[in-house]
């Protein structure tokens, strides 16, 4: 009965209700976008890490993967020790860092080298040509940006070195690789020029052979082993390195994204307040127009709590009706905003700011329902305090 009366009451003025629903829908869309933004980068990173497929990452002490050129020594020894640990399937040594790259006879450009041995690599996705094979010690795959900068095609030679003599315009002790494929690198910035070769080759370029320096060891586990347990073991066993399970890495990244959280908190709160004010005003206005009817409903025997529930339900129904708009518009707006933000040159290719997750959807639903409930408080109070006789009297006199 309460639902019956609430829905009928809501559609007494269809145009007004529609406008209200649209308004709440737009506020709800912004609320959804802020929920998507608050954990969007983290969720996006989680998706990439899952795609890459390693459960633990070992980095130089005090760093996150590839956030600096720092390396740690004895990399292959540590990788071998980790591989021997129970529950570890394999550990992939990786070296990344800044180098110079050129085509024969052309001016060099700065580039980023990924050294990771096939067939365990998962840092890039080949778009054209073929990936590196285990025997490909002098082969490379290059990013589209590097290929474009140097005019490289599959089969061309890539000259690379750790140092560049600007006076001579020459690479110092260059090493030469044959391009086997064009690949998109998951963690590259949009305009980043990168190429990938084997780990040992990268150590040659970065002058890390002697100390066996690595930037990262990616550790794959079997299904029964916990990433947190292995990362804790690595940290205890090798104090010179940092180790992160996927969850720990995401938490560490989240700490660096406090700005986005704050931003989404402020805008999300504003959209909630707009929701509350919109729904509250609409329902309170509707109630004040119907005081006589509500008084007569009480007079003919409808219980007070029945009418209070009806008003509450009207608030919630307004919010409920606005949800398809909130989710539809929110999704479209997020695509648009994401396209704008990810165009920035400092954003990795595969990252997204707005990611639709179950958590974002559930939080939006919960916050919208909370808004509807808060909005219903004042109109519900009006009905709870309604005095039948004076209301009927004033309605008749009016």
């Amino acid at each position: 009965m309460v639902g019956f009366l609430a829905i009928r009451g809501l559609f007494r003025h269809p145009a007004r209700t529609l406008l209200g629903v649209l308004g709440v829908g737009v506020a709800g869309a912004l609320l959804l976008d802020m929920q998507m933004l608050s954990r969007g980068l983290q969720a996006s990173l989680h998706r990439i890490l899952k795609e890459v497929g390693y459960e633990v990452r070992v980095t130089p002490r005090g760093t996150l993967p590839f956030d600096t050129d720092a390396t740690f020594p004895d990399g292959h020894r540590i990788a071998a020790a980790i591989t021997a640990h129970p529950g570890v399937d394999h550990a992939a040594p990786i070296l990344g860092g800044s180098v110079y790259a050129a085509r024969a006879g052309r001016e060099p450009v700065s580039a980023f080298v990924y050294g990771m041995d096939p067939p365990t690599q998962a840092l890039w996705r080949v778009l054209d040509g073929r990936d590196l094979a285990p025997s490909d010690s002098m082969y490379a795959v290059v990013s589209p940006a590097l290929a474009a900068a140097l005019g490289l095609s599959i089969g061309d030679s890539l000259h690379a070195a750790g140092e560049y003599t600007s006076q001579l315009g020459m690479l110092r002790s260059p090493r030469i690789y044959v391009v086997t494929g064009i690949a998109e690198f998951h963690f590259d910035l949009r305009t980043q020029r990168s190429f990938a070769i084997g780990t040992r080759e990268a150590q040659h370029l970065r002058n890390e052979v002697a100390r066996d320096g690595l930037s990262l060891i990616a550790v794959a586990l079997d299904d029964q082993t916990s990433g947190d347990a292995v990362s804790a073991w690595v940290r205890d066993t090798f104090p010179e390195v940092e180790a992160f399970s996927v969850v720990e890495a995401l938490d560490a990244v989240q700490g660096q994204l406090a700005y986005f959280n704050l931003f989404s908190l402020v805008l999300g709160s504003v959209s909630m307040v707009v929701c509350v004010l919109l729904v509250g005003t609409m329902v309170a206005l509707s109630i004040s127009e119907r005081l006589g009817e509500l008084a007569i409903l009480r007079a003919i025997g409808l219980r007070r709590r029945r009418l209070v529930s009806m008003v509450f339900l009207e608030s919630l129904a307004l919010v409920l009706l606005s949800m398809p708009i909130a989710f539809g518009a929110g999704h479209l707006i997020s695509l648009w905003l994401d396209a704008i933000l990810t165009r920035a040159p400092s954003i990795p290719v595969d990252m997204s700011f707005f990611v639709f997750t179950r958590r974002a959807a559930l939080r939006t639903l919960a916050l919208l329902f909370l808004s509807g409930s808060i909005a219903g408080l004042y109109p519900a109070l009006l009905v709870a305090r309604l005095r039948i006789a004076p209301t009927l009297h004033s309605e008749v006199m009016g």
């Binding site: 019956f4 007494r12 025997g301 039948i388």
Partner: protein, 230 residues
């Protein structure tokens, strides 16, 4: 003697309006028995509607004793007064107060829904009472599609649908033209003939004259009956 439905003794109702004390009722004593038809007349502001509201358990007296259907009104909780209105009382007002977004049948059905009757029972009862007020063919119409007289008949059907022992009518013809008012008067008389007790507040002497007991109020009091009056 027929069953006593309502007994009021020395009822008073005072309230404050803009800092002034208003004595809406003073020492009103009245009994309503089953099957009675009482009309109350008097000038505007003499306390007729206030008395009706107190008899109908939508307002409480400031002083005096009130027994409603064998229960001391002063001891009733809000929920008990609500239940009393639902099961024993019917209200008809000058303004019809029908819910415009519901059909006539849905408006009439509301008290039955509140009483928790099953859907089929509700539909049967609504059909029965709509037939009684002569609107069986207009059940699916919304109030905006009905004339004033038809709307008032729907309001009467809503008041009757839970088969109340006492119908309280406050100026039921006040917003109707003479001919339509006459139809409502005939309906009330038929209701009385069928055994429902009625307390009717009106300015209309012809309507009041149809009652079996006619009372007049002045300054919050019931005037003593004139000699020769019924």
């Amino acid at each position: 003697m027929s069953e006593r439905l309502v007994s009021a003794r020395d009822l008073a109702k005072d309230y404050q309006l803009d800092g002034f004390a208003i004595h809406a009722l003073r020492s009103v004593t009245l009994e309503v028995h089953a099957g009675e038809f009482i009309s109350i007349m008097g000038a505007s502001g003499c306390g007729k509607s206030t008395l009706l509201h107190i008899l109908g358990a939508v307002d409480v007296p400031s002083a005096g004793e009130l027994t409603l259907f064998g229960r001391n009104a002063a001891e009733l909780t809000d929920a008990e007064r609500t239940a009393l209105r639902l099961h024993h009382l019917g209200f008809v007002f000058q303004r019809f107060f029908l819910l415009p977004m519901l059909t006539a049948a849905e408006n009439v059905m509301l008290p039955l829904m509140e009483a928790g009757l099953a859907r089929r029972q509700r539909e049967e009862r609504v059909h029965e009472v709509m037939e009684y007020v002569g609107l069986a063919q207009r059940m699916r119409h919304k109030p905006g599609q009905l004339s004033g007289g038809e709307q008032q008949r729907v309001a009467i059907a809503r008041a009757l649908v839970n088969r109340p022992q006492l119908l309280l009518a406050d100026e039921p013809t006040g917003e109707l033209d003479e001919a339509t008012g006459e139809q409502i008067a005939e309906l009330l008389q038929r209701l009385h003939a069928d055994g429902t007790a009625i307390v009717l507040v009106t300015h209309n002497p012809e309507l009041a004259a149809r009652a079996t007991r006619q009372l007049r109020m002045r300054d919050g009091q019931i005037e003593p009956p004139m000699e020769g009056a019924p």
